[in-house]
């Protein structure tokens, strides 16, 4: 093993301080101050019970069940129209909740071998990630993992089960 040069210690220390400082500063800034309530509701009628303003974007309020999965054709990783529509909705949610990060799981049906499906699942997850990043979601908020055909959603051995299992499953971290 190579011995690190002597200057590396102060350098690392400085870097660490800078990084820690950066973190601390960010930590102070979060949680974000809620935006002031829209003045309109107050101006119209202050005597009646005011209509609550629309909830401001708050992180942590999105669950995996709010996200839509993208489904694929056999041996394909091309996004169909329904997959794009699902990911458009996911992109909106992610834009509204900038502190939410997701893991996109690539899944395949039981046909084809384990190893090929691991690669295919990765491509499906990657296609979904690419679509979301093109829709403006930072790549750093999206992890991908391929489960190939090892974690099917439906247990059957027909097209209705297979169609359920060929998907990019979006999981909120």
């Amino acid at each position: 093993m190579k011995v690190a040069p002597r200057w590396i210690v102060p350098l690392v220390t400085v870097c660490a301080l800078v990084v820690l400082g950066g973190c601390a500063k960010k930590a102070v800034q979060t949680p974000p101050t809620p935006p002031p309530a829209p003045p309109v509701s107050h101006a119209v009628d202050t005597t009646t019970t005011p209509t609550p303003p629309p909830a401001p974007p708050v992180s942590g309020t999105v669950a995996t069940s709010d996200m839509k999965d993208a489904f694929f054709d056999f041996d394909q990783s091309v996004l169909r129209d329904d997959a794009r529509a699902a990911l458009d909705q996911d992109a909106r949610l992610l834009r509204d909740h900038p502190n939410v990060s997701v893991v996109i799981e690539g899944h395949c049906d039981e046909r084809g071998t384990e190893e090929y499906n691991q690669a295919l699942g990765e491509r499906r997850a990657g296609a979904a990630k690419d679509y979301l990043t093109q829709a403006g979601i930072e790549a750093g908020r999206i992890e991908t993992i391929s489960y190939g055909k090892t974690r099917p959603f439906a247990d059957g051995h027909d097209e209705s089960a297979w169609a359920q299992n060929r998907r990019a499953h979006v999981v909120v971290k």
Partner: protein, 443 residues
């Protein structure tokens, strides 16, 4: 980037050294030329197993089970037609008569096994004594069977080999190993994660496998085939899958997606020095070594659908293996180099096919249901594969001789992803009478 854990450093060096040493032996053994194995499906040798006699004071009634096990071993060797003396069958036109005598002494058993010719004089063709503990009677039978196969074919049988596989348990998949006859079945992992694609080192001491253990994307691990702690071989970004040692044990072929999509790579035996072999936007995966270690068969969908291709280990001389089927995957190069097994899509089913190494002569050897992951026995006479052919997921062996595949006993586990071990190092058997030199049973 090699994410090998520091604490495992010394152990993995030892493991790697073991693999290297084993590989060096394998390299010498495999310097022979490729030859076509004509035994599969050809004329079989007629053998009569007369039976095994138990010792008069034998405390355990294993003789009947043992003689049936011996006959089944010889049947499964796929080079004999076997008749059984205890079934009232007569030795008709046989080339050998198999007899044996058990004796027990002080917790040890001895099998005095003999094969004679069918002449009135019953001249001895082979005679060995096999000794072991009382609990090792199955292994003594397998040794005898392997020696009989050696005597008649010039190459020992595979009755003493082991099968590594993966068992589906709920959402998880654990790594298991067992003897070919289903005995000594036990788990090697208990990660409550997903293990996949086990592959033996050339000396049979180590298993490479893919695992999601620790909640990561798939990574390549290695562990002793007898069990113990796994060590990380490759935890690079993305998928790390499909690992197998080269026949000399010095390199690992695998699939890495650190470049953004699946490419075939070579690593050294410790997982370092990555060398990229394929460069294509398509999926390139499932590399399988030729027995010389000079070429790799692999799967790529560069032509639109998955197809098996062959290339040299530097990535040159690429050729598509076969044009018979529109979707082929999961290549396995035979240990003699003459054939390649693969999986072909057939509607919604998948069949196991075998063709010659040049792609000619392709034909299905297992059809019906999903038949996957064919792997060769070390003698190249059999294939083990995973299948749903009988409904329940399990492991099957085809002897490539026209008989239907036989299901392996995996103790009720839903077994997938099999891998056939090399032969064990030569057993020490004391020979009496006309002895047969124990060959290089070590592959």
């Amino acid at each position: 980037m090699n994410a090998r854990p520091k604490r495992g450093g010394r152990a993995i060096v030892a493991l790697a050294a073991l693999a290297w040493l084993a590989g060096a032996g394998a390299a010498r053994a495999q310097s022979r030329d490729v030859r076509i194995d004509i035994s599969g499906g050809g004329q079989k040798i007629r053998l009569h197993v007369q039976g095994l006699t138990a010792a008069p004071d034998d405390p355990h009634a294993s003789a009947k089970d043992a003689q049936e096990l011996l006959a089944r071993d010889l049947d499964d060797a796929a080079v004999f037609t076997v008749s059984r003396g205890w079934n009232g069958e007569a030795p008709v036109d046989v080339q050998g008569i198999v007899i044996g005598r058990w004796s027990v002494s002080g917790g040890r058993i001895t099998l005095d096994g003999e094969v004679t010719d069918a002449s009135p004089a019953r001249l001895s063709i082979l005679r060995h004594e096999y000794r072991g503990g009382v609990g090792e009677w199955r292994d003594l039978i397998h040794q005898f069977s392997d020696d009989i196969v050696l005597q008649f074919t010039g190459e020992p049988g595979v009755a003493r080999t082991r099968i590594a596989f993966v068992a589906q348990q709920g959402r998880n998949r654990e790594l298991y190993v067992m003897n070919l006859d289903g005995s000594d079945l036990h788990p090697l992992t208990a990660d409550r994660s997903i293990a996949l694609s086990p592959s033996w080192s050339p000396d049979g001491s180590l298993l490479l496998f893919t695992s999601y253990r620790g909640g990561t994307p798939p990574r390549i691990w290695v562990m002793a085939a007898t069990g113990g702690r796994p060590y990380l071989i490759s935890g690079r970004r993305g998928n790390n899958t499909s690992a197998s040692y080269s026949p000399d044990g010095r390199d690992i072929a695998c699939t890495l997606s650190q470049d953004g999509n699946a490419e075939v790579y070579l690593l050294d035996a410790r997982g370092g020095s990555p060398r990229r072999v394929t460069s294509n936007r398509a999926i390139d995966t499932s590399p399988s070594w030729s027995p010389t270690g000079r070429e790799l068969a692999f799967t790529s969908d560069r032509g639109g659908t998955p197809q098996v291709y062959v290339m040299d280990r530097e990535g040159g001389n690429l050729r598509r293996l076969t044009y018979d089927v529109s979707y082929t995957d999961s290549p396995a190069w035979s240990p003699k180099g003459d054939r390649i097994a693969f999986v072909a899509r057939d509607g919604n089913g998948f069949d196991v096919w075998v063709c010659r190494a040049d792609g000619s002569g392709g034909h299905a050897v297992a059809v019906g249901g999903l038949n996957e992951n064919p792997k060769w026995s070390p003698d190249g006479r059999h294939l083990v594969f995973a299948s749903t052919r009988d409904g329940a997921q399990g492991l099957y062996v085809t002897d490539l001789d026209g008989r239907p595949p036989r299901r392996l006993d995996t103790g009720g586990l839903r077994a997938l992803s099999p891998a056939w071990s090399p032969r064990p190092p030569s057993a020490v058997a004391s020979a009496t009478g006309r002895s047969v030199s124990q060959p290089g049973g070590h592959p």
